[in-house]
């Protein structure tokens, strides 16, 4: 089944593919360096940069379509060249990176345009667009790199942009903390990705995609498993999947266009990209695929359950993103033809989720930045465009026929049922259950926001619709939410077949339930979930949080993931830090000063400054010795391994 991955050298138009990264990067640099001088027109430069990247991307995409070998490489310069370790600053434009380029720059352009209006009252708008362009550049590098080091380069780059934009309103302590949390949790994943890259170099002597993919079949099964798990850790960090999901909802502290572009449509799907790109690695180990599927299934249910209990419009959407990416992980974990299905869902999700986030931003814009859905209600009469466009997004995400989610999610559910044995039931039912839950909480969100009685705060008299610069992107994205799914699901799988490795497909197993039954079941569950939510919330809800049972309370607290992180990492970490600071000042330093005083006898200056307890010196020296011995043993073990 092995087929060789082959990339050809870029020529003609495609040899300028580096412009995709360079243009937004240059724009970001200009906006940052010019400072206030660019305040008046900076946002337009930002829009122009992403818009022209879209036009370029589209023309590359079209020229790729006419080519025999659709994987085009471009090596710009030697990035790192030390001994056997040779890394190009190289790009790869192939069907997979092509669709990502279009998503990033296409949806990106619309969100940039929207942000011109959304951020018009913010004095930091120029800086905002600088960071936004920086993000686009890094994200494009991430999907365009032709080796894992380039991917890592873009990977940490988008992490930086994400941090900058989450903590954009840095004077708000919660925003600053959320940004830091996102960066730190991402770095945990990044460390995994980095070690994965080390393994590639140690075993295969390369980090170039083409060489890794062609060499991976020669590796031991255990090596592939460890390598894949490390990549998965990186993917989970970036994509807000279990166990690294807790940062994503907090990321909603950033301005809403950021949530739409980075934390819904593009960056958080980078994990899916990583796994799809690395498909020769993941397809090579069955256990590995099962782990990916399990992470996806678990996370998609977690996202649904928590999303159903939240009252902050952006957080509900954030948890729905976590959940939808769970579907994508499920898809890429299933392997074979499901890789393409996951990418289709990713693209469709990019449209409808960006649509809903921008819609939420439009609601907040008209409601004095209120985010609590208990204080909305009846807005359909006041914001007609926002209401109608949001409705398209809502119908799309719950997978209603014939909106885009139906065409993109349904096949993943079917594919889950095509697994071998009992796991087909386990993962298939999880995906099916998720569809019903999604319909429930998204309908709850939709009804409580736009319908039912008004529950507004006293200071709001007449909510206004947003200006055209914000509604036009909404309308365009809504059109995408309606039509994208059908179009994508009929074209993208064939298109992606030319991507290195993705073409090699095994024959799927027979599904344990027939396709027709599954479609009927998922539509039935969707209608049931939506209907239940309508019955429960058509008359509005209480304006304050009500006491609730165990399950709802747990869901409100994000299923205690923050509590667990705090108990396992944060508190012991803080304790350890404090203890070490004490030890270092009193112990190690004291020991040396004490020794100096004892030896020197007359060095009174030093003696005055230290505490003078022999016992504490002894303890600290013992601790130090133990540390050294422990580290030494670890190293010896490392050499034996």
């Amino acid at each position: 089944m092995e087929e060789t991955v082959e990339y050809v050298q870029a020529t003609g138009l495609l040899s300028s593919v580096w412009l995709l990264v360079a243009i937004p990067l240059a724009s970001a640099a200009v906006l940052l360096l010019l400072g206030r001088r660019a305040d008046k027109w900076g946002h337009w430069l930002g829009v122009l940069a992403v818009g022209s990247a879209f036009v370029l991307g589209l023309s590359y995409f079209i020229s790729l379509a006419g080519m025999e070998n659709k994987s085009v490489e471009l090596s710009l310069w030697d990035f790192i060249a030390v001994g056997r370790f040779q890394v190009d600053f190289g790009l790869l434009f192939d069907p997979l990176s092509g669709v990502f380029v279009l998503l990033i720059t296409g949806v990106g352009s619309l969100i940039h345009l929207y942000a011109v209006g959304y951020m018009s009252h913010d004095e930091g708008r120029r800086k905002f667009f600088a960071y936004f362009n920086l993000f686009v550049a890094a994200m494009l590098l991430l999907v365009l790199g032709n080796n894992y080091v380039m991917l890592y380069f873009g990977w940490e780059g988008v992490g930086l942009a994400s941090y900058l934009l989450i903590s954009f309103w840095y004077t708000k302590p919660s925003a600053a903390t959320a940004g830091k949390k996102a960066f730190l949790m991402n770095r945990v994943g990044d460390a995994g990705l980095a070690i994965g890259i080390f393994i590639m170099f140690a075993t295969l002597g390369t980090t170039q995609y083409v060489d890794v993919f062609n060499g991976v079949s020669g590796l031991a099964a255990g090596t592939i498993l460890v390598l894949g798990l490390l990549l998965l850790l990186g993917a989970a960090g970036k994509s807000g999947q279990f166990p690294l999901q807790a940062w994503l909802p907090d990321a909603m502290e950033g301005p809403t266009p950021v949530s739409a572009l980075i934390h819904a449509a593009t960056m958080v799907t980078a994990g899916v990209y990583l796994i799809a790109r690395s498909n020769p690695i993941f397809s090579a180990n069955h256990t590995l695929q099962t782990v990916v599927v399990s992470v996806g299934a678990l996370t998609l249910l977690m996202g649904c359950i928590i999303g159903a209990a939240k009252d902050d419009i952006k957080r509900v959407l954030a948890w729905s993103t976590v959940s939808q990416i769970g579907y994508m992980f499920l898809g890429v974990g299933l392997g074979g033809a499901a890789y393409a299905l996951a990418i289709v869902h990713l693209l469709a999700h990019g449209f409808f989720k960006a649509n809903m986030f921008l819609g939420a931003g439009s609601v907040m814009h008209g409601m004095k930045d209120q985010v609590d859905i208990r204080r909305f209600g009846g807005l359909s009469k006041y914001m007609k465009i926002t209401w109608l466009t949001f409705m398209m997004g809502w119908l799309a995400i719950i997978g209603m026929f014939p909106f885009s989610g139906f065409f993109s999610k349904e096949p993943i559910i079917v594919a889950a049922f095509e697994r071998e044995g009992w796991t087909a039931w386990l993962f298939g039912m999880a995906a099916l259950l998720g569809a019903g839950l999604t319909a429930f909480y998204m309908t709850r969100l939709f009804i409580l926001t736009f319908h039912g009685p008004k529950r507004w705060t006293e200071d709001i008299e007449h909510p206004h619709e947003s200006p055209a610069i914000m509604t036009i992107p909404l309308i365009l994205l809504a059109i995408g939410s309606v039509g994208a799914g059908f179009l994508l699901s009929t074209s993208v799988p064939d298109w992606l077949e030319a991507t290195g490795g993705l073409g090699a497909q095994e024959e799927p197993h027979e599904a344990v339930l027939s396709h027709g039954v599954l479609t009927a079941l998922s539509l039935l569950l969707t209608v049931a979930g939506a209907g239940l939510a309508y019955l429960l919330f058509r008359n509005g809800t209480a304006k304050q949080e009500q006491p609730a049972g165990v399950v709802v309370t747990a869901a409100r607290r994000n299923l205690y993931s923050d509590t667990v992180n705090e108990a396992i990492f944060e508190k012991p970490g803080i304790f350890l830090t404090r203890a070490l600071v004490y030890l270092d000042n009193r112990g190690i330093d004291g020991a040396v000063n004490g020794l100096a005083a004892a030896v020197g006898g007359g060095s009174g200056r030093l003696r005055r400054l230290q505490t003078g307890f022999v016992r504490s010196y002894a303890t600290s020296m013992l601790t130090g010795a133990l540390l050294v011995v422990a580290a030494f043993l670890a190293i010896q073990l490392g050499w034996l391994a």
């Binding site: 990035f79 080091v149 302590p173 460390a191 080390f198 170099f201 075993t203 350890l576 000063n593 670890a634």
Partner: protein, 516 residues
Amino acid sequence: MAGVNNFPFLSILTLGPLVGAAVVACIPKAKGNLAKIVALAVSLVMLVLSVFMWVAFQVGGDAQRFQFRESYPWIPGLGVNFTFAADGIALVMLMLIAVLVPLVILASWHDAEQSRRSVPVYFALLLSLEACMFGVFAAADVFLFYVFFEVMLVPMYFIIGSYGTAKRQYAAVKFFLYSLVGGLFMLAAVIGLWVVGGKTFDWVALTQIDIQTGTERWLFLGFFIAFAIKAPFFPFHTWLPDAGGAAPAGAAALLVGVLDKVGTFGILRYCLPLFPEASQWFAPWAIALALIGIIYAALLAVGQNDLKRLVSYTSIAHFGFIGIGIFAFTTQAGTGAVLYMLNHGLATGLLFLVVGMFVARRGSALVSDFGGAGKLVPVLAGVLFFAGLASLALPGTAPFVSEFLVLIGVFTVNKTVAVIATLGIILAAAYVLWMVQRTTQGTLNPALADIEPMRKDITLREKVVVAPLIALLIVLGFYPKPVTDVINPAVEATMQQDMGKQDPAPTGGGVTEASR
């Protein structure tokens, strides 16, 4: 190029600042500005000269390992010579000195005025420090190296002791004593080496001799202890936070950015080539110390409430990376370690200098005395953040390349060490971001807004100081090849010729060097 290659770059670089220091020291106390301008001019001349030297250095093909060699007899009876020569490793460090010193002088423009001491003397001390630093990296005679290694302490001692903050006396004495103790060990080893080496101090001659295993290990230890204190490695590190915290910011940038690198440079230049067997025998212990340093110092950095001490602790963690890189004995890790020495000098230099700008405004280095400063000084806060990013080795900044090289090189020989060290990158994010958050983000500390200098964002002079460092960090982050091409041959010579170590081949049998 042969003519240029014979130009006595190294002796001019060493003597030039010394002459400059003498001139500046003679300038009357009242004419402080003249002293500053002369000092800056001298350091700029050295920078220009170093750039010429960089260009003249031959790379690739049959280029010699050591270039610009000069030798003048000093104490013929003992075989001591003034021998200077530079390989790629030394060249990079010399360049770092040449770049940093003018920037530090410019950054320290008003530092000495706050103390009651003489302004010209401060700048004379900085220039004499530059001379010693050039000398210690350019020396190719073991005794000459030792002399510079010790003499270097003197200007730094006076800079900390006379121009530092409140705890300066304690810090200066501690710095001096620690280094002196290390120096004594080294002196013993130098004499021992002279005896077993046939009464010569010439580095090339000494690499050729065979030393009895037991003797070799003792001699190694003598050098290693001195270097481990200088670098510093855990548990010899406690002098650095005190010295770094008490020194004026500019001097601290030189102390941590350059002076400490003498330790890691010394290990690479003296321990490994002179005592290859002992180096391998002690490698697990050295790596253990370095590895503890990475995690331990990073945790301590998280817990610091003094900006300058915090930066000092981050440096100890970074020296740990350099340490494991050196003792992994592979070309990637070794080249990464040397590149790390350069990049850390640039990044931590920038970090210390920008911290100094904050401290000069606030009159305090305590993190808790800041809070929300980004509102008042947005550009300065941006520079602090950038320096932090470079310190946590974000791709796009130079330190990423070196850290990645070190880790990937170490991973090929010892997975456990590399994996534990990789955890350090998470801690690095923690100490940088928490520091940034506590100083520049969040609600504005009301006390801060009342302080007049805090309302003045970055000045033109400060922009001139930080801009070259930022530019270098970014350029080398995207295109490090000009530097790695200089370092790599020297590291390969050290690892393969001197140590007899070859890089391990890929274990998966996949792509080999030949097939690329």
